[in-house]
Amino acid sequence: MNPLKLELEALRARFPPGFESSLVLPCLRRIQQQRGYVADADIDELAASLGVPRIQVEEVLSFYTQFRRAPIGRAHLQVCRNVSCSMRGAERLLEHLQRKLGIAPGETTPDGRCTLGTVECLGSCGTAPVIMLNERHLEQVTIAVLDQLIAELK
């Protein structure tokens, strides 16, 4: 975690003194960006270095949808299925993905290429339907766009 440790120290310097507890979310995000998920050892180390109870880190990991404690596929496809996106075809897109990838939301393809998920409103309703591919937002997605995407998955 060493280059990461330096980065996290720089982050800590931006916060006022006494805000160590606040560092839990940004540190977890950074750890997950690097490892792909947060491991048990990461939890121990983070709790110790920030001086927060281990249970706090466990709770945070469990509460927020963006954190995960196990690896996922190389591509993380998350389909927004809230009101506006559903009104512009999101449910059809999700069905299409399920059929094409052969997995249900929450699952990963056997070859590890892709994990499928659903999300709540991404704040992009004007360009619905919207799908997150890893960190990026794909907007005004169509079946054709999805097929192209799947073809390009490694």
Partner: protein, 427 residues
């Protein structure tokens, strides 16, 4: 253009979000002048006199919120910009973050000066990608240019801004839930009293304002309260950024002068209902605002007071246009699934009620509705109204009651005939 514009006053180019172009438009001169010529109290007075109402959903008078913070009380004060924008149908703060981040920063600095806040935070939802990169870059530009980190000019006023990313929780958009999250914990909202302006972030006086609210501050300070009040209506001065989505030809973010006629906005400014279909209903301000029928929308103007009188609210400005032929039962199912998924679980009525309502609507959609289900939904909504720690429980109740009030026949049909009148159609 739906009335006079205060924020969307510049063309969007490849660099219009940068510090250089913001400066070229006159940006940060208001801050410079204010630090030299105005006291913090004068800033607060201007914002109060302007009658700026919070644009995050509650429309609470911003000046009144600020006034609770006691100047010179010897404690750290904090200012937090709520960029969690999670209310379904809403994407207007995103416009500011992507295209006018420095407008937000200048507004924050003016507000921090007024509130004697040395540290500010921008809490931005974890799912935002480009808006986060833009605002983070803007903050770095501001540090490099000396607006942040060290005293500005010879004013003695200095401020730090931390951009704090959420991690996927709608309830983190609730001000006290946001602060719990900012403290590195699960975003559990808090009971009030104490108000956050008395004991907020780490128990210190904290003002949480919406991104759009803060982005109006520079204009108010620059041109004065009277100029702001000259726009909009008496009871809703200024403009609102409205995000339009759903069955609409030209979805997007529009700046609307408050008081603008609603039907004209939909038909002219937004291109009309998608495919020229007849209008059925509109959700005005995010799914937590009460749906209104096309007939109700017909005579209304987009102002806070008119929507309140109509039994709804402009809320977060997340307008969802719904065409005839849409199954409201299916729409409500999506909304209730959302609330169920996002309930933090702390308090009894919301934790159990959102799950209960979701299960009821699922049964209705699956053709297993029972005659008592409609009364049950009303019951759950009623006992989530005013009984919960935060507004999520109430909001779920408002969404349900309004749908049932306006479209009861569709729900009765689904229950009686075990299928949707519109085959579940929502596209």
């Amino acid at each position: 253009m739906p009335g006079r514009q205060l924020l969307m006053t510049f063309p969007l180019t490849v660099g219009s979000h940068t510090l250089a172009e913001y400066r070229a438009r006159g940006g940060y001169t208001t801050l410079e002048h204010a630090l030299q010529q105005r006291t913090p109290q004068e800033i607060t007075q201007a914002v109060t006199a302007a009658g700026l109402q919070g644009r995050g959903g509650a429309m609470f008078p911003t000046g009144r919120k600020w006034a609770v913070v006691v100047p010179g009380d010897g404690q750290p004060h904090y200012l937090v910009a709520n960029a969690d924008e999670g209310e379904p149908g809403t994407f207007k703060d995103r416009w500011i973050l992507e295209h006018a981040p420095h407008l937000l920063l200048e507004g924050m600095l003016l507000s921090a000066y007024a509130l004697e806040a040395r540290h500010c935070f921008i809490y931005i939802r974890g799912e935002f990608d480009l808006p986060y990169r833009r605002v983070a870059a803007a903050v770095e530009e501001a540090y490099a240019a000396g607006w942040l980190g060290k005293p500005i000019g010879d004013s003695g006023f200095a401020c730090d801004i931390v951009v704090y990313r959420g991690a996927g929780a709608y309830v983190a958009g609730e001000a006290s839930g946001l602060l719990s999250s900012l403290e590195g914990k699960k975003s559990y909202p808090r009971n009030r009293p104490p108000r956050l302006t008395v004991r907020g972030l780490y128990q210190r006086p904290t003002v949480v304002n919406n991104v759009e609210s803060l982005s109006n501050v520079a204009g108010i300070v620059a041109h004065g309260a009277a100029a702001f009040r000259a726009v909009g209506t008496d009871k809703s001065p200024g403009t609102r950024l409205i995000s339009v989505s759903g069955h609409i030809e030209r979805p997007g973010v529009y700046e609307v002068e408050l008081g603008y006629p609603w039907r004209r906005f939909i038909d002219e400014d937004c291109g009309g209902v998608l495919g020229d279909r007849p209008l059925k209903a509109v959700i005005p301000g995010g799914i937590s605002s009460q749906v209104l029928t096309a007939r109700e929308v017909e005579t209304l103007h987009l102002s806070h007071e008119e929507l309140w009188s109509a039994g709804s609210t402009l809320g977060t400005g997340g307008m969802i246009v719904i065409a005839e032929g849409t199954c409201m039962v299916h729409l409500l199912q999506i909304m209730l699934r959302f609330y169920h998924h996002e309930s933090c679980g702390q308090c009894t009525p919301c934790r159990e009620g959102t799950g209960w309502m979701h299960r009821i609507i699922n049964r209705i959609v699956a053709g297993e509705g029972r005659p008592e289900d409609i009364e049950r939904l009303y019951y759950i909504a009623k006992y989530n109204d005013g009984t919960t720690i935060c507004g999520l429980g109430d909001a779920a109740g408002y969404a349900v009651s309004a749908m049932l009030d306006k479209f009861r026949d569709e729900f009765e049909f689904s229950i009686a005939h075990k299928r949707s009148r519109y085959e579940g159609h929502i596209e």
